[in-house]
Symmetry: C2
């Protein structure tokens, strides 16, 4: 009898397989403006962006955040990268019997504070308590709904060809030749911060999670226009994001290693742990694909946001190549693949 | 250090306390047409009904259903009792490492079949796998969005006073003197079916879960009009539902024991187990409060639905009494209180 394995939940190729072989096989999946089958960050149905995320992050508290702030930020970002502004969030909790009340209070307060930063409210919730040993402390599900950004039509006007936006919303299949790739800041911080707090790792670092709601930053980029796709590099990291875009848009992507923003603390932790910073999940970053003529203005707008100060142009889309290619410091070229599993399980 | 206890997740008074002392204390809760503070079945924000439910039901498979069909039915019903029709559902899963793939497939297929019955689609999802021992097999979160029923304004036209519907949507504070209470069918079946399949109970019964989507039934009742409140008696059962209505609407409720539809198999199981059928959760029932002049027509409409064949008028709202009063077979009167904890934990 075949059984589910940990690597199937890890955001890499194995998870894609699980989703294709089970979720898409058993569920009707072609409904909506951006349907389930798009496997994008959110679905669009009747003009409403709708997304869900379950958080099983371990440990629950880590440098710079906790499961509450993480959940709210992650769901706000999944709505926002579809070109929608968040309207409301839900919060469903599974609590293990014996969980400290004070921790629950802290986590809810963090969720509320993060929601306030994003100018969105948690409007509905559900609480389940299960017996000792039936869950690992606390699991949180946040779902989110959003409505079409008022800047989306202007954004689309700046996109050159009608081939783009198959669904009239920015999505993973929106890229075409020449699009410029912009990342909103350094990558890998969330994963490294998390590992530093995890039992059995426990190395010293000053790295903190980057988890933050990015709806304001994204809105300011949309105001400029010309954005063909947006996505947050969560499970599977930048490597997974770029491969999803490349596959779904059927276009090659090149990224320059020297342009990738990575903090030195993240680099040294990754070296020590033997993991690739491109494969680590982030929770407060977004990658934009932008038509070349708008890329400078979008970069400036992103850099003007507090969360985007260290944004960089990291590469471009090219129909001359297949897949994702990293141009290394030394001038070599390396194929970047989606991780099979994930170097850091239970990152979110 | 205070710790969360099982009874706080059980849908009774202890859970209400947990929600008031933690969720409502830490989260901003006054946003929307029906806000979080209403603690109703769904919130209404910007014209969208939005609800979330986490399912930790044990066991995952039980007579007549499984966690997949249960989750879809429960969330469809929570949207529908607000006077909205379901537009889309999400599905977030936490899977324990080692979970059988074939069970996952069966559960997804059941979820899809139930969604098809309700004419709604699961449009977005999330999958997390946690290590062996970190979760109890499978937990499912379904969130749902809905839009205002086209029949809601006609329904409101049939309600006599402007005092009703403080939020212009049917909700728990909508009842007033003389409203007639209708239950759509026999109560207690889901809880008894579940217990019969649970390790350590294992009694013989032919009772099956009543879990079913009720949006069609509710729509046909709304077409008649005059409905002042609707609610599904899930955790805490009918006892909890009636007490919530009584408190939030500030009105007494009387229910006649002889009019309560309860299957004989449910009655005998409850007697054997020493639990009160009024306190057991249901997943395919709805209770309506209706102005008297519309009650006969609403009852007929409900009885014409396949899920409502055994609907009954069970009582009425009365400003002459406080709380919830059951008139027993013998002509006595008994106060019905919300259960403190819950006779059947992990029922949904």
């Amino acid at each position: 009898m075949s059984k589910i394995t940990l690597s199937q939940g890890a955001g890499g190729e194995k998870m894609q397989e699980l989703i294709r072989n089970f979720v898409l096989k058993e569920l009707e999946h072609d409904y909506g403006e951006v349907p389930l089958s798009a496997l994008d960050d959110a679905a669009i149905v009747d003009g409403i962006a709708f997304t869900t995320d379950t958080y099983t992050v371990k440990p629950l508290f880590f440098p710079g955040g906790n499961i509450g702030s993480l959940a709210v930020a992650g769901t706000v970002n999944d709505v926002s990268v579809m070109g929608a502004y968040p309207v409301a969030l839900s919060c469903g909790m599974i609590i293990e019997e014996g969980f400290p009340e004070s921790d629950l209070r802290t986590i809810l307060a963090s969720a509320n504070l993060t929601a306030r930063k994003a100018d969105v409210k948690i409007v509905t919730g559900d609480t389940k308590v299960v017996e000792k040993g039936a869950a690992d402390g606390l699991f949180v599900n946040t779902s989110g709904i959003g409505k079409r950004s008022p800047h989306l039509d202007g954004n689309i006007d700046r996109i050159r060809t009608s081939r783009r936006y198959p669904w009239n919303w920015p999505n993973d299949s929106g890229l075409s030749d020449g699009d410029v790739l912009i990342v909103s800041g350094p990558i890998g911080n969330h994963g490294v911060a998390l590992l530093s707090a995890r039992e059995g790792y426990g190395f010293e670092t000053t790295i903190r999670t980057d988890a933050a709601p990015l709806n304001g930053l994204i809105e300011s980029a949309l105001k400029i226009g010309g954005i063909t796709a947006m996505k947050d590099p969560t499970r599977g990291g930048l490597a997974n994001l770029l491969n999803e875009w490349s596959e779904k848009s059927n276009i090659g992507l090149t990224v320059k290693e020297e342009d990738l923003p990575i903090d030195s603390g993240v680099l040294s932790a990754c070296e020590m742990l033997g993991i690739d910073p491109l494969e680590i999940g982030n929770e407060g970053k977004v990658v934009f694909a932008v038509v070349p003529e708008a890329s400078k203005d979008v970069l400036d707008a992103v850099k003007a946001s507090p969360e985007g100060r260290h944004a960089m142009i990291i590469g471009e889309a090219s129909s001359d190549i297949d897949g994702v290619v990293l141009e290394t410091y030394t001038g070599g070229k390396r194929i970047v693949e989606s991780p099979i599993g994930d170097p850091v399980p239970r990152i979110c």
